[in-house]
């Protein structure tokens, strides 16, 4: 790039379409949402400083999400050093999660649609950091398993495991709001 202005323009052209996803991801991931701007500023400044190393035409989305994710983990770790160190946390056994509850949500999902956003936000907070990160990188960042693997620096099998658990837990936690609304479990409809 011929000048710092060109570099800034090139950087912004790539960053612009991702701004909303990055800000929402940051807000959902941080233990203290009031520091979203500070985290974004630090991460974006760091990425911009290293933009010379970015290979034009490669995956900018995964590249920039990694900077933001690292800064989020740093900030969360500073605030709650013990609880937030679960990038390699021990997965919760799924057997204890009620399959029936999650299936009942699927049978009548409309039952929890009232205040759905609040329930989703609440359920998200009950996931581990790794589950939350994989779910949000997939849902907000539209990132593939391989890209999430690169961002979190974990094996792709772990990405699949965390994502699956996160989805299952979300459904189960959302289903907790369903019984008062009259949700009933689905009939057994499997073919064998």
């Amino acid at each position: 790039l011929s000048s710092s202005g060109d570099k800034a323009e090139a950087f912004l052209a790539l960053l612009l379409p991702l701004q909303r996803q990055l800000a929402v991801y940051c807000r959902r991931m941080l233990r203290d949402p009031s520091i979203v701007e500070d985290v974004l500023q630090t991460a974006i400044a760091e990425a911009f400083a290293r933009f010379d190393r970015y290979a034009d035409g490669t995956n900018f989305r995964a590249w920039i999400f990694r900077f933001v994710t690292l800064e989020i983990f740093n900030q969360n770790r500073r605030r709650e050093p013990v609880a937030s160190s679960d990038v390699a946390d021990v997965p919760a056994p799924l057997e204890i999660v009620s399959q029936l509850a999650a299936e009942s949500l699927l049978a009548e999902p409309g039952a929890v649609m009232e205040q759905f956003e609040e329930h989703v936000a609440e359920a998200l907070l009950r996931l581990t950091a790794s589950e939350r990160a994989t779910l949000l990188l997939r849902a907000l960042g539209d990132l593939s398993y391989h890209e999430i693997q690169q961002i979190l620096a974990i094996p792709v099998g772990s990405v699949m495991g965390y994502l699956s658990r996160a989805r299952h837990k979300m459904r189960q936690l959302l289903a907790e709001h369903a019984p008062p609304c009259g949700v009933s479990p689905p009939a057994n409809e499997l073919k064998s």
Binding site: S3, S4, G5, K7, A8, E9, F11, L12, A13, L14, L16, P17, Q19, R20, Q21, A23, V24, R27, R28, V36, E37, L40, Q41, I44, A45, F48, G57, F60, R61, L105, L106, A107, P109, M113, F116, E117, V120, A121, L124, L135, L136, R138, A139, L140, D142, S144, Y145, M160, L163, S164, R167, M170, R171, L174, E189, L190, K191, S192
Partner: protein, 257 residues
């Protein structure tokens, strides 16, 4: 494949991950098992609702203005502005002359169209709205266009022109619905808006315009007018338009409704 096996793989199928063979087997099973087809459909719907709820919230453009200003990135561009003013004025003057010649007195509507396209594209990039469907799956985008807009078009494939769909929705323009697809061409955001063809549209088929930082390419496809906007080169936008032309004519395996 049996039901239990198919349902074990629903996430890989939903996320377009896993092997093509697995997808084929799941698709075959869904074609023959209404119960699983319904189950997959509900999973997909619920996942989309959860994702939309996760992405909900206030616009983030204010945050970004402050972040970019404080980190000095916007400032670098601003410092160059005095140097660019002369060039920008000259470019604007040339653009005006070109537009006047091109439109031959009837270009006002097209100028307004391209300006609107660029403004709307900017709003999307700034995160001021989210498309109704947020998905990288071209199949889902096609399904959306077909069911929501009765537009049986294929989404341009990633392997052909490097287009990666990000979502789709419907705009209201002059009280009429205009379907759109948004996505990335390379790493730059592009939007494809489909309008009813105006009477004068034939005169400007394939024309390209510049609106601020954007290029806008306009083309007639059947009875529609397609407006493609992005920061990419005109040549790459026109290649994308060519892809749209080819894919807009639904092949036999893509049932019209």
């Amino acid at each position: 494949m049996i039901c239990v096996e198919a349902r074990q793989h629903w996430e890989l199928y939903l996320d377009s991950e896993g092997s093509p063979e697995l997808h084929l087997r799941v698709r075959r099973h869904l074609g023959s098992c209404p119960a699983c087809a319904s189950w997959f459909s509900r999973q997909q719907w619920l996942e989309r609702e959860i994702n939309q709820a996760l992405g909900a919230g206030d616009p983030t453009s204010d945050i970004w203005e402050r972040v970019l200003a404080r980190s000095g990135i916007r400032g670098r561009g601003i410092r160059r502005r005095p140097l660019l003013i002369g060039a920008a004025c000259a470019a604007a003057a040339i653009a005006v002359v070109v537009l006047v010649i091109a439109f031959q007195g009837q270009g006002e509507a097209h100028a307004e169209l391209t300006r609107d396209a660029a403004d709307w594209h900017t709003q999307w990039q700034a995160g001021r709205f989210r498309p109704e469907l947020m998905s990288r799956s071209h199949q889902e985008i096609e399904d959306f266009l077909k069911t929501r807009c009765a537009l049986p078009w294929r989404c341009p494939p990633a392997q052909a022109g490097g287009f990666q769909g990000l979502g789709a929705g419907v705009r209201l323009i002059g009280g009429r619905e205009a379907p759109y697809i948004v996505g990335l061409l390379g790493d730059a955001a592009v939007s494809i808006v489909v309008l009813d063809k105006a009477d004068t549209a034939e005169r400007h088929d394939g024309a390209a315009y510049r609106q601020g930082d954007y290029r806008v390419v306009v083309g007639v496809v059947g009875d529609k007018l397609v407006v493609i906007t992005g920061m990419n080169s005109v040549a790459s936008l026109q290649r994308l338009l060519d892809q749209v032309r080819k894919l807009a004519i639904a092949p036999d395996d893509f049932p019209r409704i």
